[in-house]
Symmetry: C2
Subunit: 200 residues, 2 copies
Amino acid sequence: MTRPQMDFWFEFASTYSYLSVMRLPARAAEAGITVRWRPFLLGPIFAAQGWDTSPFKIYAAKGNYMWRDMERRCAARGLTFKRSNTMPQHSVLAARTAQLALEHPQGIAFCQNVYLMQFAEGLNIADRSVIAACLDAAKLPPDLIDQAQADANKHRLRDTTEEAMRRGIFGAPSFTVEDELFWGDDQLDTALDWAQRHAA
Amino acid sequence: MTRPQMDFWFEFASTYSYLSVMRLPARAAEAGITVRWRPFLLGPIFAAQGWDTSPFKIYAAKGNYMWRDMERRCAARGLTFKRSNTMPQHSVLAARTAQLALEHPQGIAFCQNVYLMQFAEGLNIADRSVIAACLDAAKLPPDLIDQAQADANKHRLRDTTEEAMRRGIFGAPSFTVEDELFWGDDQLDTALDWAQRHAA
């Protein structure tokens, strides 16, 4: 029997992705699920439905709710969380670098570092020095940042984002098990459970 | 010590409200929380943010996801669920009648009947005979439908909807414990837990 698999779709600018990025590795290990980490960009997906920024900026009530909800959830999990005025941050540099980082075992630590820098430390992840510090803390080579600017790597991020759209993904975090889509950190355990029960 | 309290905000046209309406009574009783059931209308709230119908109609990816997600959730809970082409249904008659029904102990059964008619049976809750059947099955007087058309009762629904908006409610189901807002059936237990821990 093959080990059950799941794809994890996350966007570095997404607050709720922070929650899943921090807890998924331990939960997936417990559940015995192999997870493919797939950074993508929500910007083009939002643009396709007529939004020029995050729905949390466009719809004030949703935005106000999200900040308070994130505060409560992070407090309950012992995660530091700072509200930020610059939301959403530009996440392209982080996503491109993550694609290469995730080819190494320390890639997950890199991703977690980026979320901590942004949401616990309040730093700007569009800043090259912040991404460099995240690589360094994960003991990954600093030149991944430059390698990440190669055309093939840029195209890969575009392809992943197009695949997300084709799969009907409209927010982050999302989880897919074959054609089944689960949206939101609240659905993380449901998705793992689905992967277990529907393993080939 | 006063018994902990929570307000439960639901919209009769809302698929996810069905999930909470069916399970909240048992969960709240277990948790020892007194719940005030507050039917309201999402239409005016959506209109205020520029939507002329449900976001599940406006944003196809969200809509497709919702139907599949509801199917999975209902299957997991043993609830019958039918996809419908007429979404969202007109819920004003149901909401106005519910306000009066909820003054009786059988009010919750009435509300559950309305959701079952709509989402398990595929019937139209804007139809007077459907609402009459829901009253009858809950052993409530049939003339509540006519009483529900009184101006004072109409104004009450408008006032509740305005209060929902002032509280920052943007979707259903929602739960409030004093000024804390929780959105979505996924947050039902979190809201009950909050009510317990923050009881006066």
